[in-house]
Symmetry: C2
């Protein structure tokens, strides 16, 4: 087996929550389980392909659990696993820091808007 090495812990964390979409998805799932279509509505810019792909990667990392209801029409939701919840504090802090960053930049004259402030 080829050995994988990291220089510093944050590298491993960023493999899990890095990229354009994973942290956004996780910030939503942190608050409640959500169906595919709900996530699509909450993250309007994401394509179906990226949503599914990122969810699969989060499942593989044991962060997200895919829950299938035995119903017709089909129904699935996604939720943080117990291990996934260990990211909850970090995700919260990332959201809050970003909100403050946006406030600051707007005060400095940047044209910038935050649409949905999830007050957590």
């Amino acid at each position: 087996m080829p050995e994988k090495t990291y220089q510093i812990g944050v590298e491993a964390t960023m493999e899990v929550i890095g990229g354009k979409w994973k942290s956004i998805i996780l910030c939503h799932l942190r608050l409640k389980p959500m169906r595919t279509s709900e996530l699509e509505r909450a993250i309007p810019q994401i394509s179906q392909k990226m949503l599914v792909q990122q969810l699969r990667e989060l499942e593989a990392a044991n962060i997200v659990d895919r829950h299938v209801y035995q119903e017709v029409p089909p129904r699935v939701d996604y939720r943080l696993t117990e291990y996934g919840h260990s990211l909850s504090g970090i995700l919260h802090d990332l959201c809050v820091w970003g909100e403050e960053n946006i406030d600051l930049r707007r005060e400095q004259g940047e044209e910038i808007t935050l649409l949905h402030r999830d007050d957590l």
Copy 2:
């Protein structure tokens, strides 16, 4: 001016610390100011180009300050700005979570190594 919009705070945060290198650089600078050559040694996989490029972007975001000493041979170091320090807690948590993630994966049989555990 074209208005920039975010759906959720974490998007803005990830613009600042996202990508392959920024969080790693910041985790080092969090502990002490460092010279270019020191950062190169601390992050052996990074190319000069990426190091400089990422530092410039962090400067532009007011996270990192470039400090030039008036000496020959030239000497420069980089350090977190006061605003940059507001990320310190998050950076610490990202490192710690990653270290624990690596431990867990090794316990589960993955061939995986963390070279430098900065005990903070």
